[in-house]
Symmetry: C2
Subunit: 305 residues, 2 copies
């Protein structure tokens, strides 16, 4: 089985209560593919960067088994740049600056060698572009997972509504679920989203864990209680990458296997926040991941007898 991920590869500059960074590698597709790389080596990326993007970073992705054939490098243009500053509680942040640059007219070309991908992960970008990706695939993938954000719910609602009819799984956070449905109850919000298209809905609640809704069932995965959250940037994308990476590896899209996917995604996200940007998820071992997953078992297991 193989995975196709489409989304941003970017520069981020971050400030948290623990320090600040200059431009470091960021972007949804970066986090997703790095996270998924621990589960599958058939890991294909479609994204666009400018010629200011260092070859060493592309090499890093390749070394993690990410296929960058679909990474377009635009001459004379600059890479998407985002800078943000986190508040003291680490749950909220302000965007300090956005330079769309190459993302302003991202036109995702799908290499022929990617056409047989059975799993499609649409990282956060404009719904019109995400739709274009589905249009350009010769066969519909077995599973399409969509990530989106508050911006698109506000400014591209019609595009998003059309796109929702075409995907299997929607991943979004609690605030976005409430914004999309105008329902405060997440149970009601998930049901409404299911009626919009995706049969499966994953609602991320940050430090409070994540909820999976599907087949009339609900699964709750905790987030690992951490002493310190150093930098939450990319945690949601890392979660999505672990989730879909596990599905690709096992080629099983049952509800029970999605539960395991959520646990793997949560484990990957718990690493992501330990260091700035993608630093921690670029340097993980299989053993560390397994140990972390076992912590989730210990954290939430109970027997009634």
């Amino acid at each position: 089985m193989s995975l196709l991920t489409v989304g941003s590869v970017a520069f981020d500059a971050l400030e948290t209560p623990f320090g600040k960074t200059d431009k470091i590698i960021g972007g949804a597709a970066t986090y997703i593919t790095l996270s998924a790389s621990y589960f599958t080596k058939k890991n294909n990326l479609v994204a666009v960067v400018g010629d200011d993007f260092p070859q060493s970073m592309i090499d890093d992705l390749e070394q993690h088994g990410v296929n960058t054939e679909g990474l377009e490098i635009r001459k004379g243009e600059k890479t998407f740049f985002w800078s943000g500053k986190y508040h003291n509680d680490m749950n909220t942040r302000d965007t300090v600056e956005v330079q769309l640059n190459v993302m302003e007219n991202f036109n995702p070309a799908i290499p022929d060698s990617y056409q047989d991908c059975q799993y499609l992960m649409l990282g956060n970008t404009a719904p019109a572009i995400q739709s274009m990706v589905i249009d350009r695939l010769h066969n519909r993938p077995k599973l399409i997972v969509l990530d989106t954000m508050n911006l698109w719910i506000e400014i591209a609602n019609a595009d998003l509504m059309n796109l929702l009819k075409r995907v299997d799984v929607l991943v979004l956070n609690d605030e976005e679920a409430r914004m999309l449905t105008h329902d405060y109850s997440l149970v009601k919000a998930a049901a409404k989203i299911q009626s919009m298209g995706p049969k499966t809905v994953i609602i991320k609640k940050g430090e409070h864990g994540a909820l999976l809704f599907g087949e009339g069932r609900i699964f709750f995965a905790p987030a690992l209680p951490l002493e310190e959250v150093f930098d939450p940037t990319g945690a949601g994308d890392t979660f999505a990458g672990g989730f879909i990476g596990h599905l690709v590896k096992t080629d099983d899209i049952s509800f029970d296997n999605m539960k395991r996917g959520i646990i793997y995604g949560s484990a990957m996200a718990s690493f992501c926040v330990e260091k700035f940007g993608a630093e921690r998820i670029m340097n993980l071992t299989e053993e560390e991941i397994q140990t972390r997953v076992n912590e989730f078992v210990t954290l939430s297991a109970f027997g009634l007898e």
Copy 2:
């Protein structure tokens, strides 16, 4: 095994987005003993009310197996009254009015027949009064569980600090844990609280579940995702009542049994919020409770294979 609960028995007037009530029965000890009544019939109450408190409500408690020998009825005085209004998100509320009345000089007398209680639940009231209860017991109970609130952290901090040295379990919410320790991380906050006295700390996170810290271990229990929260009043006390009720019933204070206690407490709290005040937890069957507990198993269970 038997339980002694000390705390308020009160009148509440509530307003939520779903409606409002006149004076209905409320108070921490009311919710705790009603909730615990589904687990133990050795359920002893110490509280004070005025002679405006209806005998029919005392009869209701008695019918649930609550021993009201320690419920003092003060002639010519009025029962503690609280009225509050919930905001639309149901997570925050404003206190509209407080009339301390009989609670102003609550002087908890412990009937002789209560002296052999092995489990003590100190419902939320002034730390000086909670300390007095421990002083008046001839033998230290096997387990002392303490609930407190932001008010006492602010205005009776020294009393609270002295009391913390004398209890085994502290139950409080996330905001209170942060206020008490000046630590945002709940993992750090729990460790700091443990150094203040209680070996076990339970941090309630409302709709986000609860965390149990003890023996160097952490357990996370989800809250049941609900379509509608009708009235959250008393949910925290109902949680505490289910928790300690289960411990009394099983007479097992191991970490693993406290995990089950947290699940039973969470199940009881999920009923409490379905109707105004204590209405729902006055009318429950064993079967309903067991079905609800099984929903918690389904909600959080996963296998890695």
